[in-house]
């Protein structure tokens, strides 16, 4: 408990540091920091639509946050969320083509969800497999897999399942039974019951990690590989499984975007969700439930910054990148929060 309190204090301090540095930067640009704060806040909570959009940006971050946090528990660093979510979204879009004869909405949505999860999961499992069997460093392989995913999804979007009636780079639209209905109170913002499902997933993963054999094995491998192996736990299995699960969850971003919003795969739809997921997981400090407030914070930042272009004179939506970067640095810089400076090489 004491540890939990201290680590969340560190996260809050990091957010505070990053946000205030970002606002200082605004001040130097000749923009009132108070005004920027007000725009950020109003744009994310101002109306039903605004709040719906904030949740729409939060939803993918819940998933990509998990996609970083779960392998992290197993001692792996998954930088590949971006690629995994692209492949998952393509899977969801392909579901409309493969399953065009499905007539039940429930079957249709489950089918697309399964395809998105499987596509992302396999994409994530490849670096996990390479790490387990060949010792290839997962950070580099997942970075490379991101680029391969970008090239591959662009190939499929432009050549294989391209929408012939559209001049844009997008796939054939999904039949209406694949569409998720948004809540009416959000006035057109593309978010509905899905947000509750996603929050439930976070809670389930939390309990699974702490109350199941698989979850225990995964954490054991992350804490101490050698001890886990001595105990008879296969680190290879845990690694591949953690990466499969992470990739699958990142792939579910496809459900949020393709079934919930665009109803097709559009090139370049992701607002760097995969990378911001690293920030989300980091801010939660390995605590799975902490991903919920953490994702919401970055969702607010994403939605709120969108209004900076119009509402302010001197700063643009790209301020979000600066603030995100500073928050990550503020949270990751362990040494900032120690009273005694540790002497080391």
């Amino acid at each position: 408990m004491k540890y939990l309190l201290r680590s969340s204090l560190k996260s809050i301090a990091g957010v505070f540091l990053g946000l205030s540095l970002g606002l200082v930067v605004c001040y130097f640009a000749g923009e009132s920091p108070l005004k920027v704060l007000k725009v950020l806040f109003q744009s994310s909570f101002g109306s039903g639509y605004d709040f719906g959009m904030t949740l729409f940006y939060t939803a993918p971050l819940l998933l990509t946050g998990l996609a970083v946090a779960i392998p992290f528990r197993a001692g792996l660093f998954n930088i590949g969320g971006e690629g995994q979510l692209l492949v998952g979204a393509l899977g969801a879009a392909a579901a409309g083509v493969i399953g065009k004869d499905i007539h039940s909405p429930i079957v249709a949505i489950l089918f697309a969800t399964a395809l998105a999860f499987l596509a992302g999961g396999i994409w994530g499992a490849i670096p996990g497999f390479l790490k387990a069997k060949r010792g290839s460093h997962e950070v580099i392989t997942t970075i490379m897999m991101n680029f391969i995913a970008a090239g591959m999804t662009s190939y499929f979007t432009l050549y294989v399942i391209k929408d012939p009636d559209s001049s844009q780079a997008e796939t054939i639209p999904l039949p209406a039974i694949f569409h998720l209905k948004p809540f009416a109170i959000f006035n057109g913002a593309p978010m509905g019951e899905l947000i509750f499902v996603l929050i439930a997933i976070v809670v389930i993963i939390h309990y699974w990690l702490w109350n199941s054999v698989r979850g225990f094995e995964l954490k054991a491998v992350g804490e101490n590989e050698v001890a886990a192996e001595t105990y008879g736990i296969s680190k290879q299995k845990s690694w591949i499984f953690a990466m499969f699960l992470a990739g699958g969850l990142a792939g579910l971003v496809g459900v949020v975007e393709v079934l919930g919003n665009a109803h097709r795969f559009k090139l370049g739809f992701s607002a760097d969700y995969g990378f911001v997921g690293i920030a989300v997981a980091l801010l939660a400090r390995g605590n799975i439930l902490g991903i919920i407030p953490s994702a919401l914070l970055f969702g607010i930042l994403q939605k709120g910054s969108g209004s900076l272009d119009l509402e302010t004179e001197k700063v643009t939506r790209d301020l979000a990148y600066i603030i995100q970067g500073l928050i990550i640095l503020g949270v990751a810089a362990e040494g900032l929060y120690e009273r005694k400076r540790v002497k080391r090489v």
């Binding site: 930067v25 640009a29 000749g30 660093f77 930088i79 390479l130 060949r134 010792g135 290839s136 460093h137 950070v139 580099i140 392989t141 970075i143 490379m144 897999m145 680029f147 391969i148 090239g151 591959m152 662009s154 190939y155 432009l158 050549y159 760097d272 990378f275 911001v276 690293i278 920030a279 980091l282 272009d309 001197k314 700063v315 643009t316 790209d318 301020l319 979000a320 990148y321 600066i322 603030i323 995100q324 970067g325 500073l326 990550i328 640095l329 990751a332 810089a333 362990e334 040494g335 900032l336 540790v342 080391r344 090489v345």
Partner: protein, 286 residues
């Protein structure tokens, strides 16, 4: 052949070579460097800005290197002084860097992330090629034949040994980080002042990661790293040349498959298919 293929390959390889050598020095000192992309981005922006305001590409080029170096100071502070995880900090640097050009371009040019075009009179002709060549030769000599190079390599291979010889490991790592910032910044400078004539949004376009891939493929050694960059440069040119070309069947060659080649090769190499990949032993352990 030279005019039509080799010269374009050399041209597009210059930013990769500069950034990869920077990455090599940093990783040799024992610090993981995935922030190259960010250094390239700020380098290309400030390179264009300085060229536009002084009308001299050489000051622009230098400014690009310095801009990358300033950002690398932030990386060094967070990683070396405040003991952040290096991969996390590198990702943060990349995100942070994406916000920098739009921020300043809004204030200086009232645009959302590009600069006005650089007049022909203030553009580079061939100088970056020669500068890059000189840096390659210098890197080779320093790496293999200088005390500095040996010590820097030791700081990534066996830091305890270096420390007990009375040399500061931390200093070597700072030097490695600053070199990566400066060289990747220069790489950015070639993008905006040599390969094109203005800065455009997200100009680095993944080159920092290709450079990182080249370092791995080149096994953290200068000449093989440069060769890997040339290979990746050649695929870039091939991809441009094959755009819309019909080689077999009726459809044009899908350039996406060529585009992903460098990344694919890197994974194959990392999977141990082509010899062992010998990374510096103490890489990332701090």
């Amino acid at each position: 052949m030279f005019e039509s293929f080799l010269l374009p390959v050399l041209r597009v390889s210059t930013p990769l070579i500069l950034a990869a050598l920077g990455g090599m020095w940093c990783e040799r000192s024992g610090i993981v460097q995935i922030g190259l992309e960010g250094f390239i981005l700020v380098g290309s922006f400030f390179g264009a800005v300085a060229t536009l305001s002084t009308m001299n590409p050489f000051t622009g080029f230098l400014a690009a290197g310095l801009a990358g170096m300033v950002l690398s100071v932030l990386y060094g502070l967070v990683v070396l002084r405040y003991r952040s995880n290096q991969i996390v900090a590198g990702t943060a640097i990349n995100l942070f860097a994406m916000g920098i050009p739009p921020f300043f371009s809004k204030i200086w040019y009232d645009s959302t992330g590009s600069t006005p075009p650089i007049p022909t009179a203030a553009q580079f002709q061939v100088a970056p090629l020669w500068i890059t060549f000189a840096i390659v030769v210098l890197s080779f000599i320093i790496y293999h034949y200088s005390r500095f190079g040996l010590r820097l390599r030791f700081s990534g291979e066996h830091p305890e040994a270096l420390q007990s010889a009375g040399v500061s490991v931390r200093l070597k790592r700072w030097q490695g980080i600053l070199m990566s910032g400066f060289l990747a910044g220069l790489a950015g400078g070639t993008l905006s002042t040599y390969l094109s004539s203005s800065f455009i949004r997200n100009m680095s376009a993944g080159r920092g990661f290709i450079a990182l891939a080249a370092v791995i493929l080149g096994k953290w050694k200068p000449i093989p790293t440069v060769l890997a960059c040339l290979l990746f440069g050649a695929t870039e040119i091939a991809q441009i040349r094959l755009q819309g070309v019909v080689l077999w069947g009726t459809d044009p060659v899908p350039v996406q498959w060529i585009q992903i080649l460098p990344y694919f090769i890197t994974i194959v190499v990392l999977a141990g298919a082509v010899g062992r990949s010998n990374s510096p032993k103490a890489l990332g352990n701090s």
